[in-house]
Symmetry: C2
Subunit: 448 residues, 2 copies
Amino acid sequence: MNFELTNELLDSIKASIESKSELFIKNELSELYPADIATILYELSGEDAHYIMQFLDTEKGADVLSSIDSDDRKRFVGEHFTIEEIATYVNLFDSDDAVDFLNEQTIEVREKVIALLEDREHARFILDLLHYPEDVAGGLMQKELIKVYENQNVSECIEEIRNQLESVDKVYAVYVVDEDNCLKGIVSLKEIVLARKNTKIGNLLMEDIVSVDTTVPGEEVAELMQRYDLEALPVVNAIGRLLGRITIDDVVDFITERAEEDFQAVTGITGEVEEDDTVWKLAKSRLPWLVVGVLGSLMAATVIKGFESQLARVTALALFIPIMGSTGGNVGIQTSSLIVQSLAEKSALSLSLSERLFKIAKVALINGFVISVLAGVYLYAIGESQLFLVVCLALLAVVFLASFMGTVTPLLLDKVGINPAVASGPFITTANDLVGIGTYFLIAHWLL
Amino acid sequence: MNFELTNELLDSIKASIESKSELFIKNELSELYPADIATILYELSGEDAHYIMQFLDTEKGADVLSSIDSDDRKRFVGEHFTIEEIATYVNLFDSDDAVDFLNEQTIEVREKVIALLEDREHARFILDLLHYPEDVAGGLMQKELIKVYENQNVSECIEEIRNQLESVDKVYAVYVVDEDNCLKGIVSLKEIVLARKNTKIGNLLMEDIVSVDTTVPGEEVAELMQRYDLEALPVVNAIGRLLGRITIDDVVDFITERAEEDFQAVTGITGEVEEDDTVWKLAKSRLPWLVVGVLGSLMAATVIKGFESQLARVTALALFIPIMGSTGGNVGIQTSSLIVQSLAEKSALSLSLSERLFKIAKVALINGFVISVLAGVYLYAIGESQLFLVVCLALLAVVFLASFMGTVTPLLLDKVGINPAVASGPFITTANDLVGIGTYFLIAHWLL
């Protein structure tokens, strides 16, 4: 039942494109879901992918296009589709998908396509949505929804659903508004199924509902929908007028993308890349943080150079350069990741900075002690006990400093509006490498 | 509209608990959603939280309980609730939530509660679900759903929905089965709203639907529901009998939890902890990987000790210990994070091992070259050009080795069934620290 793209399937499709076996292609595609056809298109050349699209009816073609990743789609559509073709598909997209799609293309293409749209209400929807940033409620919402008045009855409401059948794919609930288009509440589809035809909508109304303003960040939208188990969240303007709704599928995509971004950020990868991107793109995505790491390490080298006479006297000091760097890095990233996580949970009562630091200092004391004991035992075992005080004190200091930086850095980044996950990973590691090694040699300088 | 827990609200609730102002508490709670009441309970003592629960009707109380995190709920319920109280709430849970809830308690409590359940069908549902692991389709599904036969008509179907109103909270679609309970297809709630009352269900049937077996892993369930934009996914057994359904809210929770786990894993934190856990728990969550890091660094120290005579001769060698360690660590984690990510995307056509390694070698060549140039310039700048060949060769070797390990480690872990994210973070960093420093000194030994 579940689709998996095999090399056999891919080869047979490629062969049938080569031999232009139209019937075979049509048959093969008719059995597949749009998302699965998209998976196949990724593996074909742009030209072949465009050729295949011709065998789909436009509705299915639009679904296929809306399943393709933004970057790939931008290139694919930009290079192979005419303005008229683009307009045909955009006509069939939900307004939010249409806007995402058009935002990938040049302003020129965008304007020409909008001018070509047959459905003028759809064009107006798109123009309305175009000016919202993509990661706030306004950018996540779609204009398509079922809207009724309180004094309408259930059968009028059903008629409204029937009229909007084409444009509103998933209904979930109908939105009840007053004559000023202000949101009064919702009626779930289940209620409508169960109600008598002549029941007034006002009698079924659930008034106490969650809604958001267009400016609410996507993270908060996701948190709300998850918190209250919502499939759709209405979006209103400052005076409560209903503008659109955000559906759960878009939020699931948003959550997944954000999680991937955070995961990549903390592992030092810049920009959204995947394993199947080009070698150049992959290399480029890694270089920024590698270079930062190298520069940090060269600064550490400069610090060590400053203590070269020390080192020439006691070469054993060099043995503990790695432990200072790695402990600093590990503690820093562990601390920052918990802060990043607690920043993401907006609804929880968060600790004050002094409470945070005090708690983290206690954790640092416990872990610093355990690490120092391990290092101390090792020092005696290899017969370098003269370094005992230096190494243990330095490790304790490193754990404290790294904990402090791991706490403060993401909080500062969050304050200035940078995703704290981005700079928490390699930045923390590099900074702590440097601080760790500097602290170590300073202490060695004082004590030896 | 959107709830935020303030210190004022919390203080006023604590004060009213102290003074037993029942009316005030009742009023305050009646205006809040269950998820928000749960947020308040986190901040109260177990005793106070239990006291507050008494002012909620049992339905809302059950919703509050199902919003509380598993660990907190286990302790809270285990310490403060009688068997009878637990049974009252479990009666009102959906079967999947009831099972999650009961699995937190001891077997003894679980059995006593099930024996007390008034609704015997509900008890049977729970017993059915108890034996599935929590992270596969069987463990994510609920038994509550609307089921009809092909030859029934729409008004019989609506009657069925009405009968199940209490137990099936979100309908989405009705499931159509044959006399053997085998799944034939679904009819969406929207179709039912729009159809005439005497239309046969068979005529509305959508047959070509996605379903899963009970053993399908949660990750795959999430991928499918996201891929095909589903709000509910039917679960069938090996011969196609309908067993239950998985709803999107549970999948959203699953995705979020997994993302948090991966994020924590890659940053070296063990077990699910949050900033507001106790100092001991926080310290314990960090120690395992800190200790691994320390042991790795001490092994690196031992390696360096083996080259101590070398180091005594050329102390400048010590300057480049940090760059070897940090470059190895950074490259390793960057490489592994992309592999971890591509492993998560099951539906894509993945590269073979040799293709992967070849591609990664090319990326390593580019980045290794850039890093070596930076380090080379630095060497000339500080007048240590005699180390040029050693440092540049070692850096290239380290980038290659770290890329190789970053590729192979997650693939191996995935093969043996360990979440590759868990051991990709600090494990890769530690291993590469060690390998990097070893390679560096070996090359220095040969060339100097």
